[in-house]
Structure formats: C-alpha cells, structure tokens
Symmetry: C2
Subunit: 226 residues, 2 copies
C-alpha cells in the first residue's frame, strides 16, 4: 500500500471515528435528558428523547455505510480491519443505548399518576449516574485507545450489576408492601433493567478497546450476570 492510499485510509478511518464520537455525544445527551425526564417528571424532555432517537438511528445507518465503504474501497490490513469492525460493533451498542434511553423516556411518561417515593428514587438516580459515567468513559477509552480506562470501565459494570440486584430486591419488597402502586413498581423495574442493559453496552464498547489493543477477546471471559 503506498503512502498516498494509506493516508487516505487514515483520514477516512478518522472521519468514521469522529462520526462515532458525535453519535456517542448525542447519546450522552439522550441519557441526560431521559434522566431528567424521569426524575423531574418532565414530559417535554421525554418527548424530545423520543424524537431525537430518529437522529440516532440515522447516524447509525450513516456510520454503517461509511465503515462498509471504507473496508470495500481501502481493503485495509487485518489490524485496521479490526478497528473498522470494532467501530461497526460499537455503533450497534450505541444504537441499543439509544433504544434504552427511549424506553426510559416512555416509561417516565407513564409514571405520572403515582408520586415517586424518595428512597427508591435515590436508588435509580444513583444507578443512572453510574451508567452515564460508564458510557462517557467507554467512549473516552475508545477515542483514545486507552486500555486502562477501558478495563476500569469494565470493572464498573460489576458495581452496576450489584446495585441493580439491590434495587430489584427493594422493588420486590415495595410490591409486596404497597401493592396499590404496582404499576409504578413495575415501571421502575423496567427502568432499572434498562439501566443495567446500558451498563452492559458500555462494557461491550470498553471490551472492543481491550480487544483492539491486545488482540485478546475479553468477551465471555468474565461470568455474566442474569
């Protein structure tokens, strides 16, 4: 491969990564808005999250096309190819994070009839903070190919899972003790589940960083939670 083509490839690869970061930024905003929609019962924010989800999907398609065209045209060497595939995969995870943000926004619109109890609220608030940190760090780690940060983000997921189980147990207790607000507990259960999934996707993105740097596939080497 001559220098000229290699430079063009680098530029295109950079452009795909930049677009991916743009998509990541949009999703961080979506999570922030979904968080506000839920915690301050802000229907306007919720509707905005649902509306912006279309942009997220459009960005996913654009990135997909860009990556496939780059691979087809530049015929990259194996290591560059792995980077392109990692971008493709991370894009899928980002799009799924967008689905979960939309789900949370929709659930926030359904929770209007019952007042949120303060303590369960604090639980979900804290879990939301954590997964937002995970998403931000996984994107940083990807942008800088920062394996240490990626590994630290993967570790964070274990904490999210622990917290998820605690919140779920509390919600089960709430259902038993205050069955009159069952719909609310179920809604909060779905929100909690969505947050746990967002953590999983951030973990996936971090795992691609480790994989790219080390050639080692860390998926499935850790025990999965249910």
């Amino acid at each position: 491969m001559n220098k000229h083509i290699s430079e063009q490839f680098d530029e295109e690869l950079q452009s795909a990564r930049t677009l991916m970061m743009e998509m990541g930024g949009l999703l961080e905003q979506q999570l922030k808005n979904a968080h506000e929609a839920l915690l301050s019962q802000n229907a306007e924010k919720a509707l905005s999250v649902i509306e912006v989800e279309k942009q997220v999907n459009a960005l996913e398609k654009e990135l997909d096309d860009q990556c496939i065209q780059i691979i087809a045209r530049r015929q990259p060497a194996a290591s560059d190819l792995r980077m392109m595939i990692a971008v493709l995969r991370a894009t899928t995870d980002l799009e799924r994070i967008g689905d979960e943000a939309k789900r949370i926004a929709k659930l926030s619109l359904q929770s209007g009839s019952h007042p949120f109890p303060d303590d369960r609220f604090a639980d979900i608030d804290s879990l939301m903070d954590r997964v937002q940190v995970m998403v931000a760090r996984s994107l940083d780690a990807f942008a800088r190919s920062d394996v240490d940060n990626a590994l630290a983000t993967i570790e964070l997921d274990a904490e999210v899972d622990r917290q998820y189980r605690t919140v779920m147990e509390r919600l089960l207790r709430d259902m038993r003790e205050k069955p009159e607000a069952l719909e609310l507990w179920m809604n909060m259960t779905w929100v909690t589940r969505a947050l746990e999934r967002i953590g999983d996707h951030a973990k996936n993105i971090s795992e691609y960083v480790v994989y790219l740097a080390s050639g080692e596939d860390v998926r499935h080497t850790r025990t999965n939670n249910t």
Copy 2:
C-alpha cells in the same frame, strides 16, 4: 480478481455460512431444552442449557475470527463484504439468543417452590413455540437468501409483541390478585421478556436477509415496541 481466488473466496464464505448454521442449530436445541426445562421443571435440562452456553460462545468467537480473516485475506467486493458483515451481525444476534435461553434456564431453576398455574403456563408455552418458529425461519431465510420468508418472519414479530403485551397484562393482574406468589410472577415476567427479546433477534436476522437482497436497510423503518 481471478477465478481461482474467487473460488477460494466462495468456499470460505460457504464455510462461514455453514458454521453459522451449525451455531443456529445449536441454539434451536438450546431453546427447545430451555422450553422443556421451564415447562416440565426439568433441572437437568436447565443445567445442560447453562453448560452448553459455553459452546455457543466458543462458536461465536470462531465465526468472528473466520469472517475477519476472510475479509482481510480475500478483500471481497462490496456485495460479498456485506454478506460477511451480515454473518458477523447474525452471529451476535445468535449469541444473544443463547444468553436469553440461558436466562430462561436459570429462571426455571428458581421457579421450583410454586406450582405453575395452567393458564399462564399455556400463555408462555405458546409464546415459546412462536419464537422458536421465528428463530428457525430466520435461519432458513438466511441460509437460502429467501427474502419472502424473511419478510414473513419479520411480520411474525408483531404477533409476538402483541402476545407479549397480553401476557404482561395478565401477569400484572396475577400479581395484584395473588400477591403471595409474587416471585413466581416476577420470574414469569422475566421469562416473557426474554422471549420477546429472542423474537427481536430473529427479526434482526431476517432483516439482514432483506438488506442483503435489496440493498435496503429495513432496520428502524418500522415502529419499535417498547
């Protein structure tokens, strides 16, 4: 590209598709066993599903490596490249179906203390049948590049979603009317959710078939359910 290289590529592509179908067959068996584990409270079947999940993960890695190596070595034209990417994506969906099968197997082990009510059981039984049909058809459609079958499978997902919502409403009613069996209702809720997700993955696999045949990306063109 000369004929010799092109033939080698075709062989390798065929081998990757064959391995994908093998993985698909293993997952159909996993779903069948998870179904039996749940419906006949067969702990042995459940443990086998959990054990075999490791094979599923190993197959995913193998397929991943095969696809990436083929792309790197053969530098396929855009249309063949799209096929390889579709195999990579379908592999991810298959692996996620495996995760859900394992989840159902684990949940079946936790449901031992309460007898399953016949009517809710019939609900889940029927939903399980449907998603198993969806998975089988999506794999058939992929193997034969059968767009009609893929489109029909995509349509089936709407029925699964409808049925999912009906079962969820019934479970909510069960929770309200028979709160003493709350854990059972929650377990069944998770099983129902897992089944809905399996339907989504089968739909994804079908969408890749349509995409490959038409060049049209049908993802996101339909409304998502929550």
